[in-house]
Symmetry: C2
Subunit: 239 residues, 2 copies
């Protein structure tokens, strides 16, 4: 009887995700409450910020505040890309039944975008690149800022553009399906659309834009100085 019940659950899943007709393999409802999940996520972020601040302040006690904030951003991004998004990439075929903290967090988030529960090709490929490339590179940029490396700004530009482009495609692909095909992956309650889908991803639009601009202007300044120095050297040689 239990076997039959399981088969029935697999074949006719009842789930709260939109569009309602999608098949979610082995769906099991979350057990942790929404406040529990949100507080766990916030606590994780706070722990990452605290540990990073302690380490960076020890290595570089006089690092300007804006640089420390940029390091915190890249370490947080690195952790989310590598561990949280990496978790999705490794488990994309069985996300509906995942019951650990990350699994339940993803299932809560997916109320705003069910593509995470159906191995959507674009979402999976974008997340794979994010986890495998922007994840490790985010940690590298944090280290390059802390050590004042000349590689910092070009790498900061690469990671920021990677995050920005991925996020713009993430928004536009689902917006296209919504407006052109009348297909919504988000539950109708506006909390999910604005609170999860819009708000949580908007950080990876605004902050990378600022850091990309910051990188371009700093690089142009460095080239100007390098060009002036080369000019002076040529002048000296001519004299």
């Amino acid at each position: 009887m239990e076997a039959i019940a399981n088969i029935t659950r697999l074949e006719t899943p009842v789930h709260p995700y939109y569009p309602l007709e999608i098949q979610i393999v082995g769906y099991v409802a979350n057990q942790l409450s929404v406040p529990h999940l949100l507080v766990s996520f916030a606590a994780g972020c706070a722990a990452i910020f605290s540990i990073t601040t302690v380490i960076v302040t020890k290595i570089r006690p006089h690092l300007p505040r804006s640089e420390l904030l940029t390091v915190l951003w890249f370490v947080l991004s690195g952790c989310i890309h590598l561990f949280f998004e990496g978790y999705y990439v490794l488990n994309h075929t069985r996300m509906g039944g995942q019951m650990d903290l990350f699994g339940q967090l993803w299932k809560e988030y997916s109320l705003s975008d069910s593509r995470y529960l159906t191995s959507d090709p674009f979402v999976l490929c974008m997340e794979t690149i994010t986890a495998a490339a922007w994840g490790p590179l985010s940690f590298l940029v944090a280290a390059l800022i802390t050590t004042e490396s000349p590689l910092r700004y070009p790498l900061q530009a690469i990671v920021s553009l990677g995050q920005l482009y991925g996020d713009v495609l993430y928004y536009t692909t689902s917006m296209f399906d919504h407006f052109h095909k009348g297909l919504s992956y988000c539950r109708p309650e506006s909390y999910y659309f604005w609170g999860y889908y819009f708000f949580m991803n908007t950080f990876w639009i605004i902050i990378p834009l600022v850091l990309l601009y910051n990188s371009v202007t700093a690089t142009a300044r460095a080239f100007k100085i390098a060009e002036q120095t080369a000019g002076k050297t040529r002048q000296k040689k001519l004299n």
Copy 2:
């Protein structure tokens, strides 16, 4: 009778694209031959190269050969992104029936990737960003190289990474559908896969990778020189 024939053709399209069951709105077979299409495309590229070489050589007669080649690359990219890919973006809902040169070129290429004939959300969004952002920015980078602007390398990195990321996602999304879902958008003849899908897109993997590396190393060098110059200035002030 003609009206009925047209309706029948719209409702039950017979087309050479894979997977065979896809619906292509208003499909009309190409009239131009494949050699005609390929020679037209090659002639277009040759014209772009010739005109650009004449203009750039007039503005900067002593521009190093490698720089001229980079300018040619960005002008060609700009033209393809803005005009050819822009054409697809504007006409994505009626690509099957387009009979002008660009329309027939796209229909020939689509034998290797039918997503261009079905308004695939990822392909459309990626192409929109490519046409709207990387297109104009490619022309800007060509101009920045010609005028030796300090903004050249950061902008070269942005456009190259944009092209690279878009192309990697382009390959991986269809490879995922092929291997994970057994869904192929390419005709079975290997000419289409290797000649069109693989070969034509591989340029936007290899060349952007080289130009991105080139940009990162040039930028790191500029920051080193700028840092040394700042160090000397500090030293002078202290003395």
